[in-house]
Symmetry: D2
Subunit: 313 residues, 4 copies
């Protein structure tokens, strides 16, 4: 065997498995922080190429290389879709970057962030300033440590303009299992204003594990009365080794009707400067690849509290 | 530590490293074929989720899960861009699927395939029928085992309508090092007809290793006289763990001017049924993400025979 | 980080986990044979340094580098301990090397080998001649494919001089679970002659997983009437990444009473040339390290059919 | 494929390669300390089974599971061999456990420890008390941060009774490259008393990488005038995944002449309680396996400053 082809590992690695097909061994240059909260284990490390990177329960969350891709994809399409977002809710969003993205819009008067894991956020405040830029101190921001579902249920009629769901996937026994169900989405509709926009990260948008995305999409589609416009889209998150899926469910405003010119006008008016969700690029994010459309039909089912989706990739 | 979080590897794996940040350990369910030609080592294995998969020099090439995504992305945009492709050349394309994709177009009268590695193709003919569907036997196909550059140089004035470059990356000492240079592209221009279209796979289109893509793009851009239209695009290749980049360099026909309706008309007329490059989806493939545009400007340089690109990811 | 320190894996590997502390990634140079019998999966590969190597269920079994160390350790001390071994039984011993070692002793008149897995032995006959040297054809050898316990139970009073137990560990649901229990050992005693010698491979002899060895030792110790002499020893099996444990249970002959001179005399008389169990070295194999003596006391319990040992390393 | 057989990695690992045959992936439960001194990188982690463990340059050094096996093997045979060791020198010995082992002997009046890496020792003092038990504070101990070779050269005629060489292997460009050569060993002889004993850790004692051990052994054997007694031995270091080799070079006292009774008498008189190098077990450590004797002959060569051994496993 040619020695040029063959090499062996020396160093430190964090291994994450995605389906039974592949395990990613991420190289750790330097170890920064490790701990365990009531809900999860966390590690922050310096990686070659990726830079500072957060892992939760040994799953890569975001790196300085392209956290902006994930977080703009998470936040900007929904915020832009709403013509005048004043009251915003972030569910989850531990790194604080989702909150930061929302607060970039000058229209925002208040942004509540509800994240269960206080210990994690305390750590994030100290060690992940590159993500949140201390925006927890923004007078418009309110941070609450509570179950997001309870918060949403308690805020029926509150009139949020935009609700951003940046939660972990529906893992068995995990805190987000019932934050991807029909019943929950109905509560979301009640907490939104009459022209409110809801968006949630919905899992992998590739051909190895489209099952979660398909089911969440199908579930929102079944709520035509609450959400006449259900629009899937995806972001090219290099750190995740795959495109990542999001879905907007909207009461009145259809993101597909936004032209690049209108996107640009809104961003300019609100003082937002995107690096990924630009006026030129954003419309293409909503053009889902055929395989995802096929998989939505093939694997989609309506998720309920009785039969939620259980992630096992 | 929770045992639920932590698990160790048992089984057989093929490890491929992509930049210093991550190594992918691909699971091998069953070993099918292994060998070494004069030019490379090959392995065909059965993988969970991915199915039958080809590795060359321990680098994943394509799997049954989504070889169609790669090969449609490789072939269809260029074929559709040309209004009437009759004479086609495939450079490389070992699995035979690039040839197969080209031959789907009923306009094609002849398709030459020039691949250096005869031993590999002989193996492919026996073991990878799901890729090539025995299209080597199509009377329009001619298979030649020769250096692609020499073939192209020898065919100046031949008037190919489409040249499809499905070659390995420019590895140091590898056979494709001088198939990504300005001088070579000038020979390509001479081998094309007056309205010919050239397309080449150009490497990763993500934020970890955009360097090859940036340089190939810049090099083709520098050939305005030969190729007035240089259009980058990408395909979502799940098997590659990242979006993959391609570039069309065209003399007269601009892929960006094709509407979905026109794409559909051409595909229908030629009897082609795409699963990935559909009329609805194809235009979005040409909307490159901002980071790639930035990286093209930042890292692009003109590649020459004297200073070719050397892939080291 | 210094690039000299840090390197990533490229190539093919078989991963085997030993306790929750370490996973060994064995490098595969070339893939030779793979298959699955009714009982197990097997792979023969060429490894750097180790040479041709057999894996069963992704666990390394033996390599050409030092299969002689394992198989001499398995066979020679018991054979030498008996002054005149004529009738020998091998339980298990799939590679055929245990049989070969026993047949080296010119005193042997018959050697029965009972191995459940006929498909595996058929493969071994073709692909592992370096291990068995075609000794299955020796007229003194009889190969039977049957459950070893049943064979031993059926051969009470048969008068074997030496019984060599070269079986897989007691895995849950595996075929050898009840071949490491007190009841079985009592049947072994009945199948032996009055001065018969029994030996079995008994698992790891290191500090990470001494549990099986401790329990087998304790179980044999509890059979003072059947086996007055219970003598643990170990072999330095490089391929296993650890010392490996064996235990002799003997009715009349005590291996500890053998001097190097007597060992040499017996080997010479029988025409045996050992490379590992030499007269000089063999006595030291019986000097167990203190940690193993401590662990035998600490973790040993009597294994029964009702409560067998279940290997979970 | 049976799902029971096949599993993938999730978690954190430190990978160490030993020859081209195998890479060990050590599981990290918890990350404790990381840093880089002028000379090396260090990591202390909690491992399952192994407990607290030190890595230097991603190579496992010692774990709480069995650091006593390594350090008793390193120190006790030489200390016991000398009838009355008063003046002792430790070269290297970063963890402080070698010093601690030497100081257990009540005969010792002074023990100098010369270790180049002050930063490492400062870290060890804080984080590895289980190894050194604060013995740096023993009034008999003197810690010097200096090149060991220079110290030894400067102490010709000093009359050390025992010199313990617990140094890293002779890596290219590393600080210990010239601490395994004939010239250095001649300086060692001069620094010893007339009946002084020298011992050094000498690398792997298995069949995959016996080359260093063979050469060091041959080099000391060539110094018959200085060291009439050269005695190789090994310790069963579970943490190292292999037996580890040591060599005693002695001017007057031959360790092979010590009976278990004499060993016991000396240990008792000096108040030493060994857990591995017990009177019963110690003599067996000097019985090298045949393969090591063969490899010494086959691969041994005399190491000189001009042609030192360069470790590349």
């Amino acid at each position: 065997m040619s020695e040029k082809l063959f090499s062996q590992a020396t160093g430190m690695f964090i291994a994450e498995t995605h389906t039974d097909a592949v395990t990613w061994h991420f190289s750790v240059d330097k170890f920064l922080v490790e701990g365990r909260t009531q809900f999860q284990q966390y590690q922050i490390v310096d990686m070659p190429t990726f830079g500072k990177t957060l892992f939760l329960d040994y799953k890569i969350q975001s790196s300085l290389l392209d956290e902006y891709v994930y977080h703009e994809s998470m936040v900007q399409p929904a915020m832009i879709t709403h013509p005048n977002p004043k009251k915003v809710l972030v569910c989850g969003g531990g790194e604080g970057a989702t909150l930061w993205q929302a607060l970039q819009h000058s229209t925002v008067e208040s942004c509540d962030m509800v994240d269960l894991d206080e210990e994690l956020i305390d750590m994030v405040k100290v060690h992940m300033k590159e993500w949140h830029h201390d925006c927890f101190d923004d007078p418009r921001a309110t941070l609450v440590h509570q179950d997001a579902r309870k918060w949403v249920e308690d805020h029926a009629g509150h009139g949020y303009d935009v609700i951003l769901s940046d939660l972990p996937g529906p893992i068995e026994g995990g805190p987000a299992l019932y934050l991807y169900t029909k019943e929950y989405f109905q509560h979301v509709a009640k907490a939104l204003s009459d022209d409110g926009v809801f968006v949630l990260q919905s899992g992998a948008a590739n051909e190895t594990y489209p099952y979660c995305y398909a089911c969440v999409h199908e579930t929102l589609e079944s709520l035509k009365e609450e959400f006449p416009y259900v629009r899937g889209y995806y972001g090219l998150v290099t750190t995740f080794q795959m495109p990542w899926g999001f879905i907007i469910a909207s009461k009145k405003h259809d993101p597909l009707e936004l032209t690049s010119a209108e996107i640009e006008a809104r961003l300019t008016a609100r003082g937002v400067q995107n690096r990924y969700c630009t006026p030129r690029f954003m419309p293409s994010m909503f053009v889902l690849p055929e395989f995802l459309l096929r998989d939505i039909k093939k694997y989609g089912r309506i998720l309920t509290d009785a039969e939620p989706f259980i992630w096992d990739a």
